[in-house]
């Protein structure tokens, strides 16, 4: 064992045993962030705060929730909402948090796409981010089942049924996932396990991985500029804070982030107290009934775009059934963003608006996702069905042409 001298302060005592001084340096005071960024770079920290809120409110809900088809609905709608002191508050925080976290994740994702923060060394940041997106989606889906209302039941039914489209093993796979021929008690308890333990654990691991992946390529900036972080850090440490292009994560970067988090929290609690309705669907206040499909079912808003891609194909094309086409398109929609770093063949790391061709691609994609989201909630009849088809096709075509558009762009800008 190394020799210990008597510590003169508490800090020194801990430093001898845990190396805290160095740890704080590496993680905080000498973790360098570019100066040239805006409030959109605070979204990652906002998501982290929201995840913490979800975790804490979830722990309180867990004390009274009962994962059993006969008790789940009442334990949520009577015990938690009416008997438990402030139970309603934790439920509202949890429901609003789950909805809003997706809003912020989407902003975070599309910020990354807009500024080209997914390529030229930042691929692993992007992949780990997409992994978080998939995990959050699974967390949202499994959590939605727990109150055991009509929407819980039918969302669970339709989404598990999707796996039936996988060739050969589909039918058995659905029964295996559900633990029964239909969505039942076995389904509820296993998704309860996933929601409160396995997926949150995986999310925690993925967050650590995401942060770690940021360390080497560093955060991007508003101009997509590449510079020598070590050199700029030396400048900062030497006292040239003005001339240096970087600032330390703590306290300089985070103090700005806290400002954004502060505004965001005001907005968040405004929703929690006065506008929680959007996160708590009225139909889900009817108890689950496996023998009565509600007249119109739809997922939460953040799944609407991919849901619309799923149902956009309502007729057969070239001998492939509309159902299979929808499933294939849905599968592509959920996986394609992972490939973005390789579909974009242009070396430019610049804000989309400074890229000659990519800017059109980006804004058409945004518009298309909005159309998909709006029509995903409308009944799929008449002209709506055709809008759904057109916007689903647009989505697929956009990703199919991206490599070609960006290749042309690379030629035009001459490899810059």
């Amino acid at each position: 064992m190394a020799e210990f001298k008597k510590a003169d302060s508490m800090l020194e005592w801990f430093d001898q045993r845990l190396g805290v001084v160095n740890f704080v340096k590496v993680m905080m005071t000498e973790y360098w962030i570019p100066k040239n960024i805006n409030f959109l770079w605070a979204m990652g920290v906002v998501i982290t705060v929201l995840f913490t809120l979800l975790l804490v409110s979830g722990i309180f809900l867990l004390m009274y929730y009962k994962p059993d088809v006969n008790m789940a609905f009442d334990s949520v709608n009577f015990t938690i909402m009416q008997d438990v002191a402030y139970g309603w508050l934790f439920r509202h925080i949890h429901a609003v948090g789950a909805s809003v976290v997706f809003l912020v994740i989407y902003i975070h994702m599309f910020t990354g796409i807009y500024y080209g923060s997914y390529k030229k060394g930042r691929e692993m940041i992007w992949i780990s981010g997409m992994l978080l997106f998939v995990l959050f989606s699974a967390e949202g889906f499994s959590g939605y089942m727990l109150p055991w209302g009509q929407m819980s039941y039918w969302a669970a039914y339709v989404i598990t049924e999707i796996f039936g489209g996988i060739p050969l093993i589909g039918d058995e796979l659905v029964v295996w996932i559900r633990g029964n021929f239909y969505v039942s008690d076995a389904t509820l308890t296993r998704f309860f396990m996933l929601h409160v333990l396995l997926i949150p654990l995986a999310i925690l691991g993925a967050i650590v991985f995401h942060f770690y992946a940021l360390r080497f390529p560093h955060v991007n900036n508003e101009e997509g500029e590449f510079f020598d972080f070590d050199e700029e850090a030396e400048k900062y440490k030497a006292g040239d804070k003005k001339g240096s292009k970087v600032i330390p994560f703590w306290p300089v970067f985070l103090s700005k982030d806290f400002m954004v988090v502060g505004f965001f929290m005001i907005f968040f609690f405004y929703l929690t107290f006065y506008h929680y309705g959007f996160a708590m669907d009225a139909i889900n206040f009817d108890k689950a009934d496996g023998l009565k499909t509600p007249a119109h079912i739809y997922p939460e808003w953040y799944f609407l775009w991919s849901y619309e891609v799923l149902r956009g194909f309502f007729f057969d094309i070239a001998g492939i059934s509309g159902k299979d086409l929808g499933l294939i398109a849905f599968g592509i929609a959920n996986a394609i963003f992972f490939l973005l770093p390789w579909l974009d063949r242009s070396p430019m790391v610049k804000p989309a608006n400074q890229r000659p061709y990519f800017k059109y691609w980006f804004w058409i994609l945004m518009a298309d996702l909005i159309v998909l989201t709006i029509y995903g909630k409308l009944p799929p009849t008449g002209v709506n069905a055709w809008v759904g088809f057109a916007s689903s096709m647009t989505f697929l075509v956009l990703f199919a042409v991206l490599p070609f558009i960006t290749k042309l762009e690379a030629k035009k800008v001459g490899g810059k």
């Binding site: 021929f181 079912i297 009849t381």
Partner: protein, 166 residues
Amino acid sequence: MTNESRRGFIGKAFGAVAGVGAVASLVAMKKTWDPLPSVMSAGFTTVDVSALAENKLEVVVWRGKPVFILKYSADMAPTDGRNVKVGDHYFSVMIGLCTHLGCIPAYLPDAHQFKCACHGGEFTADGVNTFGPPPRPLDIPPFKVDGVTLVLGEEGEEYKAMTAKA
């Protein structure tokens, strides 16, 4: 033995033990998620169809799934291979789950038609898909005709004859 080859041997031996252990645990985990035996052996459902009203949908539950039983009125034409005659009447007997993604379609008696609210699928009274994403007609559950009762879950003569035609 040199240190190298000893370490190599230990590595391979551990690899083998770990591999067997990993496969065994995966099998066990897969089986834990399987439906329980009580679920798999869930029983049969018997329905007396003699008292049903014409052109009014009857829904019974079989293995947790809704089963549609529709008694045809005189103005409804039966289809070969989709309808079964019990006594003097023709019936549709079908699993009441949309073949698209499993919502329960609603019956519109005036139009003699089923409509699925989820993604707009439509079916005729005998369950043939006519519009929207459903890829095939409503499934027919195994059944047996026993006088005026239907036994769901057992393959009878009529069922076999129907599936042979379809």
